[in-house]
Every structure is written in structure tokens, then in C-alpha cells.
């Protein structure tokens, strides 16, 4: 293997991968929690609340995620100084806004697919709205939500590359920096272009992470639904 490969690979894995994992982890946990709450609230027949959540879902599912990233990164600081975030955090927030809209829509469907008798039985046992949903309805709905949730995880991991556009250090940005370093003239770089190998390597890393998850989603879909 040529000499330039090892330092490039080390930088991409050591500096880039943690960024990708951090953004993905925050985004998936945040989307899951917020989406479950919003989706469950959406099943309450109270028009103003339904309208508000619908609006949220349609906005963040409709916007290109990159535009949401820009709104969080460039737009929010001009509203208030306290809303200034670093690139990785801004990307995570944008992905939570998008992901929670996806999860909310899926949760609404899953909650509504639980038979009415389950609600009635839980009420008969003396559960209030929160207890009924927390202990009876949502645990059953979660089973149905598992396959779309794994697909969402794959989407989030891939869309975490959007942090690169605003300069966040994740896999793609790490690859891009190494590409630019190698292209620089000696003694800084080699004066060689290795863009093809580097970005192919980044693509392979994403594939290795995503492919097993995609298969898992298909498997869960067959087994659980």
C-alpha cells in the first residue's frame, strides 16, 4: 500500500468517525424521543394541537435538510446570540427537527393501529391518559415502529454528512481535509491528487455501517409486521 494511505485512514477514522457517531447518536435519540411524544399527542382529537403538530411535521419534512441546517446554523444566531451552535451541534439539531417529524408521522400511524379495546381495557384498570399510553399503547406501538426506526437510523447516519457543508469535522470533512492536504505542494503535502481513493474510502466506510442496518430493517419488517 502507498505511504500516504495510513495517515489519511488514521485521521479519517480517529478524527472523522467520532463526529459522525456523535451527530448520529444525538439525532437518533432526540428524534426518537421528540417524535414519539409529538406522534402520540397527534392522536388526541383536539384541533389546535393537531394543527400545530401537523404544521411542524409538514415544515420539517418539506424542507431540504440542508436548508434546515442553514436555518439552525446561520439563522438562529441572528434571532438571539444564545442560539449560536458549533457545526456538529447545529447539524444534530437540524437532524432532530427532521427526524422527529418522520418519527411523529410513523408513531401516529402505529398508535392508531392499536385496537380500541386496548385503550378501553387500560382505562378500566384505572390508568389515566399518560399511564394508558406509557404502559399499554406505546409498548405495543413500538414493536411496529422498530423497522421504520432502523431505516431512520440509516438515513440519519447518511445525512450527518450535511455537517460537512458548514465545516463540521465528520467522516466526509475529514476525507476532504486529507484530500486537500495531499494535493498541497511539498513539504505540506505531496502535490498528488487522491480524491477518488479517499472519497471511495469514505463511501466504503458508510456502506459498511449502513448495509447491515438496512438488512436488519428488512428482516425486522418481515418478522414483526
Amino acid at each position: 500500500m502507498p505511504d500516504w494511505v495510513e495517515p489519511v485512514a488514521r485521521y479519517v477514522i480517529q478524527e472523522g468517525l467520532p463526529g459522525t457517531l456523535r451527530v448520529s447518536a444525538i439525532a437518533v435519540v432526540g428524534s426518537g424521543l421528540l417524535g414519539l411524544v409529538l406522534g402520540t399527542l397527534l392522536t388526541i382529537k383536539f384541533l389546535p394541537l393537531q394543527g400545530l403538530i401537523r404544521f411542524y411535521i409538514e415544515i420539517f419534512r418539506g424542507l431540504p435538510i440542508l436548508v434546515t441546517v442553514f436555518i439552525v446554523f446561520f439563522g438562529l444566531p441572528s434571532v438571539s446570540r444564545s442560539l449560536e451552535f458549533d457545526a456538529l451541534t447545529a447539524a444534530s439539531i437540524a437532524l432532530v427537527l427532521w427526524g422527529s417529524a418522520q418519527v411523529a408521522e410513523a408513531t401516529r400511524g402505529a398508535v392508531q393501529s392499536i385496537p380500541r379495546e386496548q385503550h378501553e381495557a387500560a382505562s378500566a384498570l384505572g390508568f389515566g391518559w399518560v399511564g394508558r399510553h406509557g404502559f399499554v399503547i406505546l409498548p405495543q406501538a413500538l414493536r411496529r415502529l422498530l423497522p421504520p426506526f432502523v431505516s431512520l437510523l440509516v438515513n440519519i447516519i447518511q445525512n450527518s454528512t450535511l455537517a460537512q457543508v458548514i465545516g463540521g469535522l465528520e467522516l466526509l470533512e475529514a476525507g476532504k481535509r486529507q484530500n486537500e492536504r495531499l494535493a498541497a505542494f511539498p513539504p505540506i503535502g505531496l502535490g498528488e491528487i487522491h480524491a477518488f481513493e479517499i472519497f471511495a474510502g469514505v463511501a466504503v466506510l458508510f456502506f459498511l455501517i449502513s448495509f447491515p442496518l438496512t438488512r436488519l430493517a428488512v428482516y425486522l419488517e418481515r418478522r414483526l409486521v
Binding site: 450535511l162 457543508v165 463511501a203 438496512t214
Partner: protein
């Protein structure tokens, strides 16, 4: 904030540029959607009818595209391919990358649509003396195409949204242009508002068209 928020001034001062940019977004989307439609129908048919070699190659193509970020795909085409002597201008990279992406997803949409066409319809075609190709053209394509329509329009919506990623290669579509203007005039909030409104109107219109087409093109027996 340096300037008071003035959306009207932002739009009217930069009317010509923004309109050009919007048309570029439509042009890239149009090229990519047309290409994705052809790729999807042809490769979807190959998958549904298990045509040897083509079917397996399509499966690989779909998995590669689905499991790698589109931004990495754009980088491969824009920065990677020139190393192999394949150089495209920005416009070509723009429509090509979203077309390749949309084509992969669309071939899955069409595969599912064609597979949903009941075998007895095709049998009827063969019984009338149609060759297998004309059976596909006259029976499977019109029926399966209708079944695939809603999910394929969803793919086209994603294609339109993904044209915003051409910001990274500096192609003057809506996102790039609007943000470039705001870099000069410091009207970031206005630029973001324009982007949000235009994309939402585009996406919402397309989603509404799904519902309309679904009811108008629904198969008679499913009503």
C-alpha cells in the same frame, strides 16, 4: 442584526438572479426526474422479471446508492472522477448525481409496482398472442406504473430537495444563489426565508399532486 428584516427588498433587489436560480433548480430537477423515470422503469422491469445479469447488477447499484450518503456520491463525481480523466461541468454534475440517486430509489418503486401486477393479467396477454415484450408494454407497464406512481413521486420530491446539495459544488441553483447574495448583503435571514418558502411551496405542490393523481389514476378494481 445589522439591517432591519426586509424580505420585500431582498427579493426585489435580486429579482433577476433569484429567478434564474429558481429556473436552474427546476431545470436540474426536471433533467434528473426524467432520467430517474427512465432508469427506474427499465431497471425496475429487469428486477421484477429477474432478467439475468441486469437484475443482479441493478441490485448492487441500488444497495450502493441506498447505503452511501448522496453528498459522498456528489463528491465522488465532482472531485473523484476528474482524477480518472472524467470531468463534468457543474450543471452536469448537478443533474447527473441526483439522477443516479433518484434512479436507484425509483427502480425499487417500479420493481414493487410491476411485481404487484397479478400474473393472470399477463397470462391474458400471452393468451391473446402478445409476445412477452408487448405483454410488458401493454399490460404490466400501464398497470404496474400506476401502482408505482405515488412512491415514485415521493422519490421525485426527494430529488427536488436534493438539488439544494449543489451548494457544495457551487452550481448556481436556488440555495447557492440565495446564500451567495446574502454573503454580500448580510441579509441572511431574508435569504433563508426565501429558500424555506420556495422549497415548501414546491414540495407541498408535488405532495398534493400525489393525492390528486392517486384518486384519478387509481385502478378501477381498487376503488
Amino acid at each position: 442584526m445589522l439591517l432591519a428584516y426586509d424580505l420585500g427588498a431582498f427579493v426585489s433587489d435580486n429579482r433577476a438572479e433569484l429567478l434564474d436560480a429558481f429556473l436552474n433548480t427546476l431545470k436540474v430537477s426536471g433533467f434528473a426526474i426524467a432520467g430517474a423515470l427512465v432508469i427506474g422503469a427499465v431497471l425496475g422491469a429487469a428486477r421484477a422479471h429477474r432478467i439475468p445479469v441486469v437484475s443482479q447488477l441493478t441490485a448492487v447499484y441500488v444497495e450502493v446508492i441506498r447505503n452511501t450518503p448522496i453528498l459522498v456520491q456528489i463528491f465522488m463525481i465532482f472531485y473523484g472522477l476528474p482524477q480518472l480523466g472524467i470531468v463534468f461541468d457543474q450543471f452536469t454534475v448537478a443533474w447527473l448525481s441526483v439522477m443516479v440517486w433518484g434512479g436507484a430509489f425509483n427502480s425499487e418503486n417500479f420493481r414493487a409496482g410491476f411485481q404487484a401486477v397479478s400474473y393472470r393479467y399477463r397470462e391474458a396477454g400471452y393468451a391473446l398472442g402478445f409476445s412477452s415484450f408487448s405483454t410488458f408494454l401493454n399490460v404490466t407497464l400501464p398497470i404496474g406504473g400506476r401502482i408505482a406512481l405515488p412512491s415514485s413521486i415521493n422519490t421525485y420530491i426527494s430529488v427536488v430537495k436534493n438539488t439544494s446539495l449543489m451548494y457544495v459544488i457551487g452550481y448556481a441553483e436556488l440555495t447557492t444563489t440565495s446564500l451567495n447574495i446574502s454573503n454580500l448583503t448580510l441579509q441572511t435571514t431574508e435569504a433563508l426565508t426565501v429558500l424555506a418558502i420556495v422549497y415548501l411551496v414546491l414540495v407541498w405542490t408535488l405532495s398534493a399532486s400525489i393525492r390528486l393523481l392517486e384518486s384519478r389514476l387509481a385502478l378501477p378494481e381498487s376503488q
